[in-house]
Amino acid sequence: MRPGLVGTTVSYVLAFAMSSLAVGVASQSFGAALVGEVRQVVVQPKAAADADALKAQYRRPAATPFPKDNPYTPEKAALGKKLYFDTRLSASSAQSCASCHSPSYGWGDGLAVGVGHGMQKLGRHSPTVINAAWGDIFMWDGRLATLEEQALGPIQSEGEMNMPLDRLMKRLNSIPEYKTLFANVFADEGMTPQTLAKAIATYERTIISEGAPFDAWVEGDEKAISDEAKHGFALFNGKAHCASCHEGWNFTNDGFQDIGLPGDDVGRGQFVPGVIKMVHAFKTPGLREIARRAPYMHDGSLATLDDVVEHYNWGGAARPSRADLMTPLGLTDQEKTELVAFLKTLSSNLTPTSAPVLPR
């Protein structure tokens, strides 16, 4: 198409669209695919699932997924655990992965925002690593694609563990027991940043929320949770439409939404430029062990689950990027209490995690 003609077409598309709204007109966009007009379509709403069908959507998976290029072995997970708890992975030798993702705090840190190198506060809340094996995309802003990539991110980040990988590999190489462990687990690859990441990611994939009262109820034990919590579950899937994003057994679809929390952090918007709904959008976190993981949200700005429910009931700050799903809910005080009661049934009797003895 000649440039001159392109310009003419654009002006006529606009003129035609304005003068004849009754007729569908394609809108134009050059050097790109052509997007037509939006048409309304009658979509039959799916009949609300009955209680049993709904419960079935939340049944725990039978097995943990491990990637083909990094399969599970107990030895690899054991090595990964040592590395995860080893403070020598940080420049200061004072911080490990477990400093911010600690079993004592539901695999988070219990702080509003993380604390990094030199005790400096970070910009965002430390996310839990629980059920990371099921993650599709990592970090609050989704900038890393795999758990292996994620494992190396905070180690190198100046604000976090501040440890260049070449320096780290030299340090680990100077610890004979690590050399032996790496040689045993990665006979062909040896000790490299990639095998370090594989070992840590493998250990992280074993950090899984255990059976909670909610799971017992899903499996048929009607006495496992209170009537209040059962009402809360119905609200979660109905009036409060939490399940639009917090769906499935791990209570997330790994999607990105701006939920209207005040603040100028653009989140996912930094990595998906030009898409308005990604500005201020952050990854939907799973809700397992949520009662153990206060404070809440990507910025740690809400202290309690009651505050979180109150935020959603309000609908968040109105702005173009705010998710269309964020609308005032009109929940009664009783309904808010029921939602929180339900969320508390997602905490399991986590088996205490033993700290590993580290190579010296």
């Binding site: 007729v23 394609a26 997007v35 007009e37 709403p45 999607g255 709904k277 799903l325």
Partner: protein, 106 residues
């Protein structure tokens, strides 16, 4: 001038007709594209129908076939006509599990 107006008008109508003639409909129910991969001819449209219960933001950054449907509410449908032959990755910006491939052929 009048001729050029008519040509432009014809192009616009042609594009619209092309769009309406779309046969391949990509559904989005349950946060899943109904096809993992489809083939479309250059100049042919695919219809992206949000028959899900939540908004989607279907887009592509594949060179020559970039588009962004913005927040598409449930119960709406949009045609996208691909202009350049090649592989196009279509995603939902909101839901990273939604990913499909369109092979655009001459």
């Amino acid at each position: 001038m009048r001729t050029s107006k008519l040509i432009s008008f014809a192009i616009v109508c042609g594009l619209s007709t092309g769009a309406f003639a779309a046969t391949e409909v990509i559904h989005q129910q349950g946060r899943v594209f109904s096809a993992e991969s489809v083939t479309a001819r250059k100049g042919e449209a695919l219809t992206f129908l949000n028959d899900d219960s939540v908004p989607h933001n279907i887009m592509s950054v594949s060179k020559g076939n970039e588009f962004n449907l913005g927040s598409q509410p449930p119960g709406s449908s949009v045609d996208v006509t691909f202009k350049q032959a090649g592989e196009v990755t279509v995603i939902c910006a909101i839901h990273p599990r939604m990913k499909m491939n369109v092979k655009v052929v001459d």
